[in-house]
């Protein structure tokens, strides 16, 4: 009984993804048929969206979109990766440094500052969308990747909170004895704290990669040219013109976007689940 229920539930959750894969392997003339499996599986849809030998891309401004080239997986993946890497380094490093300050240093006003930090977690991105757009526009950053990675270098309240909790769980004595041996604060942080915090840092890094990979609103607001698009924005753009894009291509593009995070998930499943569980229980 339990087993049957579990099997049905698991199937329901995975079926949409299997269906996506199946449609992506169908030749265009088979797309409208409800067969679960393609009769003549082909990679032609993948060839259309992978972006080898693509024509030059056009531009987009708000809703006034100028028709242009196709979905270019390789280009969009490169753009997304650039943003992921540039922001990831800053997010992990800055969050860890600030978290260390809140966890280990005694200074007047620390409690108040940390309380403000926690409170800011409540503020949703849409509230900040307009003013940050104005600021980035003033800086001339619209149409560049900078609005999408520079803010990460200030850490995030949530990650600071997460890492602080983890740091508090590490015994102080380790650092105290190191400091007696002449180790500096930074040395303690860099050589003792960070290596001991790898599990927590992995959680932060993983969720950050996922968030960037997934983000639509940020790129939609800040990027204007098709050759700067991220994967999520590129797929949305392809779909917004879907009158002329066959579904096997849309599903092939979707599959290609999901694949890297799926691989990441398979390799880091434990980190994922531990991360979600701890954030939920300590929140």
């Amino acid at each position: 009984m339990t087993y049957a229920a579990l099997a049905v539930v698991a199937l329901v959750f995975v079926l949409p993804l299997l269906w996506m894969l199946s449609v992506s392997l169908k030749p265009t003339r088979e797309v409208l048929r409800p067969d679960l499996l393609p009769q003549h599986p082909t990679a032609s849809a993948y060839r259309e969206v992978i972006g080898l030998g693509a024509d030059d891309p056009g531009t987009l401004r708000g809703d006034r979109r100028i028709e242009s080239g196709k979905f270019n997986y390789l280009l969009y993946a490169r753009n997304t990766l650039v943003i992921v890497v540039l922001s990831l380094v800053g997010m992990v490093l800055s969050s860890a440094i600030a978290a260390y300050g809140f966890a280990r240093l005694e200074f007047p006003g620390r409690r108040a500052l940390f309380a403000i930090c926690l409170a800011t977690m409540m503020i949703p991105f849409p509230v900040l969308m307009v003013p940050t757009y104005m600021i980035f526009k003033y800086l001339g950053w619209i149409g560049t990747f900078r609005p999408l990675w520079v803010p990460a270098w200030f850490g995030s309240a949530f990650n600071i909170f997460l890492l602080r909790q983890f740091f508090l769980g590490i015994p102080k004595e380790l650092e105290e004895s190191a400091m007696l041996d002449g180790c500096s604060r930074w040395g303690c942080f860099w050589r003792i704290m960070l290596p001991l915090s790898k599990p927590a840092l992995a959680v932060v890094a993983l969720f950050h990669v996922l968030a960037v990979w997934n983000d639509l609103l940020g790129p939609l607001v800040y990027l204007s040219h098709q050759d700067e698009f991220t994967l999520a924005l590129g797929l949305q753009f392809l779909q917004s013109r879907s009158g002329d894009t066959p579904w096997n291509e849309l599903m092939a593009a979707s599959t290609l976007i999901i694949l890297p995070v799926l691989v990441l998930f398979v390799f880091a499943q434990r980190t994922f689940i531990r991360g979600i569980a701890t954030t939920g229980l300590k929140g």
Binding site: T2, A5, L6, V9, A10, L11, F13, L15, P16, L17, P34, G62, S95, I97, G101, L105, E106, F107, P108, L113, T120, M122, I123, P124, P126, V127, L128, M129, V130, P131, T132, Y133, M134, I135, P151, W153, F154, R185, L216, A232, L235, Q239, S240, G243, L250, M251, A253, I258, V261, L262, L264, F265, Q269, F272, I273, I276, A277, T279, G280, L281
Partner: protein, 295 residues
């Protein structure tokens, strides 16, 4: 012994990434947004102070009313439904059976799927003519299955259905919560002759209630920000009767399509106040119902 002044300096230096970000990317922009919300600001011309005109206009704006109503309906349906489903799924996935890890992975996998891709996949699954769901419903003998995304009545249902597909994170949080419940409580309840159902109501649910509260608060905050899924699924057409036009979508359109930055900022502030008020309300209500185990 170091002086207070020096320790303050060291502390501020270490926490600098956070408070610099707070000033530059949060407090500053929010102050700016508050000012702009009292201005007429069509982006290309400088802002002109107009007092509370934007807020007054919101009160009488039928599209704003529609967007608020849709968001309220969505939150009011998706959050309770999602909570019930997630708790039940967690209880199910907590059973010790062979392949438990695989079953858990299956439920969790959709949460890592980018929303744009998920929106596309579900658009095709729910396609009235060629979609897998209606093909199945027709095979079961239903002659006229719903039009899903294209019907004003079913569009919201479709979106809630898709939101249930993303339950993986709350399920994992509840699973972790279930594992924190001491085995003795269940043993004691069984000794007292409590049935499985009674054990669920009187042991599992009370012990899980703080976790449920956390998820409900997160649910409220995210429901008011729903954007990517409906944006992808109904962008090419505005959606039947704006049935799935949500708060953040209208905010986005005001800001970046109609270039009404002042009006959009007023919407943003109203949104923030609504979220804060709802969260406060949840905490007040939870005082009576949430049970914190003495630790």
């Amino acid at each position: 012994m170091r002086s207070g002044r020096q320790s303050l300096l060291t502390g501020l230096l270490w926490t600098a990434p956070w408070w610099l970000g707070f000033l530059l990317l949060l407090a500053g922009p929010m102050a700016l947004s508050l000012y702009i919300s009292f201005c007429d600001y069509p982006l290309l011309q400088p802002p002109v102070f107009v007092g509370g005109a934007n807020y007054k206009q919101l009160v009488g704006d039928p599209v704003f009313h529609k967007a608020v109503a849709n968001t309220v309906v969505y939150a009011a349906l998706a959050i309770p439904l999602g909570t019930v489903f997630a708790v039940l799924l967690a209880v199910l996935l907590n059973r010790r059976v062979r392949g438990q890890a695989l079953f858990r992975a299956c439920v969790f996998v959709p949460t890592i799927v980018p929303l744009v891709a998920a929106g596309l996949v579900w658009m095709w699954l729910l396609n009235p003519e060629y979609g897998l769901l209606n093909t199945g419903l027709r095979a079961l003998g239903l002659d006229q299955p719903p039009l899903w995304l294209e019907s004003p009545r079913w569009a919201m249902v479709s979106l809630i259905l898709v939101s249930l597909w993303f339950l993986g994170s709350p399920v994992m949080i509840y699973l972790a919560g279930l594992q924190e419940i001491p085995e003795e409580l269940y043993e004691a309840a069984t000794l007292d002759g409590a049935s499985a159902t009674r054990r669920f109501w009187h042991v599992t649910l009370p012990c899980l209630s703080p976790v449920i509260l956390f998820n409900v608060v997160i649910g409220i905050i995210t429901a008011w920000q729903v954007f990517a899924l409906p944006f992808v699924m109904w962008r090419t057409r505005p959606g039947p009767d704006r049935a799935t036009y949500f708060y953040t979508m209208y905010l986005f359109d005001n800001a970046f399509n109609y270039l009404k930055m002042g009006y959009a900022s007023a919407m943003a502030w109203v949104q923030l106040l609504i979220i804060l008020a709802l969260t406060a309300l949840v905490f007040v209500v939870s005082r009576r119902t949430v049970h914190y185990r003495g630790v």
